[in-house]
Symmetry: C2
Subunit: 392 residues, 2 copies
């Protein structure tokens, strides 16, 4: 796959670019801090990212893909930590719905994450030790502001599309609100304009599970050489249930037992669903930092676009020329269709261009990551039609 | 309130009755073991229970109320541990829908529980120490078998009604299947004929949270003088979300902050829903035993009536003369209406007498414990009509 090489120009001395064995990295110096919603600054700032495809001559074919809660920049190539394929290889790649033969795709690890961007596991310049909880809180607008710095550094004015699901979809909406002129099309999938009370509740359970682990050590575990693995695994298990649907679980697992004819009358994993969940918890702790989990869940909790617009979501999109395609899934109860419809209504009220697709599936929230032909066709169709308008 | 005093008869030497400061207690000796589904026995066996109202001369006016996961026998009188009113005082009492001026109400703590019935915190006669995980696994049929021993000891052949919600409703269904001649009417509320895959998943998260707590000590915490409070609190928080509905949480808490105008940019309880959940977790650990939580959740997981009837639920009820009233709540996603309808269909297929009430509410699963006038009217009407048939 062809890949774009960025050249540092004369004005960019404050930033530098590097390839680590696992990722491309953009570094911003002390004179280019990330300004946070909390009023605090992060400097120096580092952003881990990947690109796919070639940027065209007028730099107009870039698509920014935004990842979900525990995703990363490895959207369409093997993940160096897990060795598994990229998390959206069904959607992004040559000939895929987001076609890297045609588009230049950028995906960056969110600030607060743990895959190369500045996060709680990064070194705190004031102490020389990992930040831990000394890292200021991060919001979705902060994540997007950092992405804009990266996009600037790559010399791109307008993105042809910003796309993503779940927390990635929140970033898409935030891009469209914060930088309407820079977003030609927006594709928010399985997301909403704010985090619901129930979703905050589930996140709080996960955070409490981590913080209850004595190896968490008030966030200082990296410096102390411990790891709150059990707490993080429980957090992941609880969250994972919310990514699936009752019907999907029934179809996939039902009450099937593990290699047995009858129940074992014990507390080992007796049902297949238990074994599956435990596996999800155990593999997750191998690839994710517990403090990052606290930071990114909190960012989602705080997300509420309308709050900055007098509680009226439509005001956030007023005058926008961005073309939107909103996608939801019928069995998604984490971001149910009603959340997407709220966005659609606001976009209609603000006079924006919007299409809306609700996809019938029993695979719940995770459907955006799975083999969903209607999703693929929707993305392909939306981008084709937008490309025809953009390059007519 | 009048209360019934049981007299031990000559044949009952193997059992004895006592009043502790907190509960009435029925004890069964070594020659009257509880036979468990696992094939194991529990002896001696103790059952903590309460009664309300007067048993009539022909012992035909008894109603057994079955409690839910973390409930107890204190259905209509102050709870001695929490000092709070009984958990169903809206439904049970003089002049209430289950009218103790008319009916003799029995409620017993389930076997495996921690409020006076034999459970993992009880003394293991073989070691003189708390059972912990040495207590054999308990099932819903085991709980019901123990209740039948209590009802026998109270000299009652047929119960006018067996009623309960959630896990209590599972016991109601099990009573109707195991002892159809002894159940004149059955009132299962917000329940189902089996525990779903998603429900097993949530229980497994709770158990893993408890077992991840280093103070759990493989269940030996009572003997060692520790307590897995943090793990149990996380388990309760996760479970508590499933007792409410998305809409109900939105109405009650929304994204309201704690006494602040703006977010605090931190990990303290910032939203009211977080504070509420933490409070639920903290108060729960004051009143509930962590190992009991493992046992009773497991009992629910194992529940599957149809499994013993070739997978055909209707066969379980064939020939039943019991009158059923099934109640569900529209926003209950732990035991959604479809589960109740499965029972209704099976009862219809078996030719049983059944009425079905689906109650419109946004209060989720917990609605059966709350002030729900339609529920009260349904119970009152169902019992009145059955009483007219019983004593015509």
């Amino acid at each position: 796959m062809a890949s774009y090489r960025h050249t540092i120009d004369g004005a960019g001395q404050a930033r530098s670019e590097a390839d680590t064995p696992s990722s491309r990295v953009m570094r911003f110096g002390l004179d280019q801090p990330l300004r946070l919603d909390s009023g605090q600054l992060i400097a120096p700032l580092q952003i881990g990212y990947q690109t796919y495809g070639m940027l065209n001559a007028d730099r107009s074919n870039a698509i920014l893909v935004c990842h979900a809660l525990t995703g990363d920049q490895h959207v369409a190539s093997d993940n160096p930590v897990t060795g598994k394929p990229g998390w959206w290889e069904t959607v992004v790649g040559p000939g895929k719905p987001i076609d890297t033969n045609r588009f230049f795709v950028i995906c960056s690890n969110v600030v607060g994450g743990c895959m190369g961007s500045t996060g709680p596991a990064s070194t705190n310049p004031e102490t020389g030790e990992p930040y831990g909880l000394a890292l200021p809180l991060i919001t979705i607008p902060d994540m997007v502001r950092a992405q804009a710095m990266l996009v600037d550094a790559l010399g791109i004015d307008q993105l042809f599309c910003v796309a993503g699901g779940s927390m990635g979809g929140m970033q898409v909406l935030q891009w469209a609100v914060a930088y309407p002129e820079r977003v030609f099309t927006a594709l928010p999938i399985a997301t909403g304009p704010r985090h619901s009370s129930q979703n905050i509740a589930f996140h709080e359970v996960g955070r409490q599970a981590i913080m209850a682990d004595p190896d968490w050590l008030a966030g200082r575990y990296l410096a102390e050489g411990t790891s709150p693995r059990k707490g993080l695994a429980v957090a992941r298990m609880a969250a994972h249930i919310t990514y699936m649907s009752d019907e999907g679980l029934h179809r996939k697992f039902g009450r099937n037992l593990q290699d047995r004819d009858r129940v074992a009358f014990g507390f080992d994993a007796d049902f297949q669903i238990e074994s599956y969940l435990r596996h999800q918890g155990l593999t997750f702790v191998e690839r994710f930092d517990a403090n990052s989990y606290l930071y990114v869940t909190r960012a989602m909790d705080y997300f509420d676009i309308a709050a900055d617009y007098g509680g009226r979501l439509a005001n956030a999109f007023m005058g926008s020329k961005t073309r939107f395609c909103i996608v939801s899934f019928t069995s998604d109860w984490l971001f149910p269709t009603v959340e997407s419809k709220t966005v659609v209504r606001a976009l209609n009220a603000s006079g924006a261009s919007v299409s809306f697709v609700e996809i019938e599936t029993d695979r719940g929230h995770d459907a955006f990551l799975l083999d969903e032909p209607v999703l693929f066709a929707s993305i392909r169709g939306f981008l084709s039609s937008a490309a025809a308008a953009r390059w007519k």
